[in-house]
Symmetry: C2
Subunit: 218 residues, 2 copies
């Protein structure tokens, strides 16, 4: 079995490898796990001994098949628990991430599969992220950040790139939650801020920074 700590490293390496490509750096792992590079190096040796990562000094790391499988199982648990918390316990989407950080380490695979069934096999978590099935399979819908859209494009909000509670609360407040349709009507030359028409005929303006972190299907 792997400790919480080992699981968190594997999960971080997995998430980083999705963003940064196959191999990830010691420093990026340190940032993601809120530790120091020296601590990461120690852990990388251990994970390499366990054959959960490919690691050669100074060359960065990547997950082995086993490592990746474990990481995805943790992501599955994280997202299923988030779904449970929102759908069954009525938490808001900005309240569940920290709780899921704990719940994702509950070990029983049987529990996860039964939870999955109880929830009726949800495909996406409250933030629009795909929930892997019990074989670790999932498909990431093809989404674009609002910042990449051209003027007049219509899209439906399907996910977010940033999960910080403050960001999610902000989106809630301005009405940009998952499932909502938006039309991009203007991109300001000056600061690249973006004007959107909402379904309810309201018009809002959001900064490029916010626009980068909202994902839509078109």
């Amino acid at each position: 079995m792997n400790s919480f700590t080992e699981e968190n490293y594997l999960k971080s390496i997995y998430h980083l490898s999705v963003i940064d490509g196959e191999t990830v750096s010691t420093n990026s792992i340190a940032a993601a796990t809120h530790t120091k590079a020296a601590s990461v190096t120690d852990m990388l040796k251990k994970l390499a001994d366990k054959k959960l990562i490919h690691y050669a000094k100074y060359q960065g790391v990547s997950l082995t098949d086993t490592g990746k499988q474990i990481a995805i199982a943790i992501v599955r648990k994280h997202r299923l628990w988030e779904f449970f918390l929102v759908e069954k316990l009525n938490f808001k989407w900005d309240e569940v991430h920290e709780l899921a950080e704990e719940l994702e380490h509950i070990t029983s695979a049987e529990l996860v599969d039964r939870l999955d069934k109880f929830l009726d096999y949800p495909k996406y978590d409250p933030h629009g992220d795909p929930i892997p099935d019990n074989n670790g399979r999932f498909k990431q819908a093809e989404l674009k950040p609002i910042s990449a859209l051209e003027v007049n494009t219509v899209g439906i909000i399907m996910g977010v790139r940033e999960h910080a509670p403050a960001f999610l609360q902000h989106l809630e407040k301005i009405g940009l939650t998952i499932g909502n349709q938006i039309q991009l009507t203007e991109i300001a030359d000056y600061d690249h801020s973006v004007t959107l028409n909402l379904n309810n005929n309201k018009t809002i303006n959001i900064s490029r920074d916010v626009a980068k972190n909202i994902l839509v299907s078109i």
Copy 2:
């Protein structure tokens, strides 16, 4: 905050104090936590520093009000999660204890209270143990082990004293589960084994050891 380990010590001290009386011994804690007496002594010093237990060398320990409150909160979580696992995820009563040992350490009080509400404020867990409310209050029903009944007494099974899966599976198999009515018809002089009439008119014989661990209301 307290570590998992500290929480488990507090919980063990609480359970032991219910059985053995107010103050409990180093050795009994060692047995309950599957550690050695020397390790227990180390932890007792730490818990005493945190004012969670009353501790004087060689004199045994008891929980402070704070310590007891924390212990009961953990028991509340344990039993609510067990109820959830059985009622919502369809686990059997012999499968949930180990899972609850992990889930009881999830920290959020908000989560527990919402879970309680979601489950419609259950009063007893799948083994008949009372579930403390969010103020730590609960009442233990007045129950007797079958081994303490006189011949011809009728009782309803309300709980068990032993939680080992093998024991619970055995009870399931012979039809002695919670809610069932029994009538004690005979106590054997030789080995104190006990004959019971069940609701379905079947007659079964159980050993004194089994009888001691089944609790009934009369």
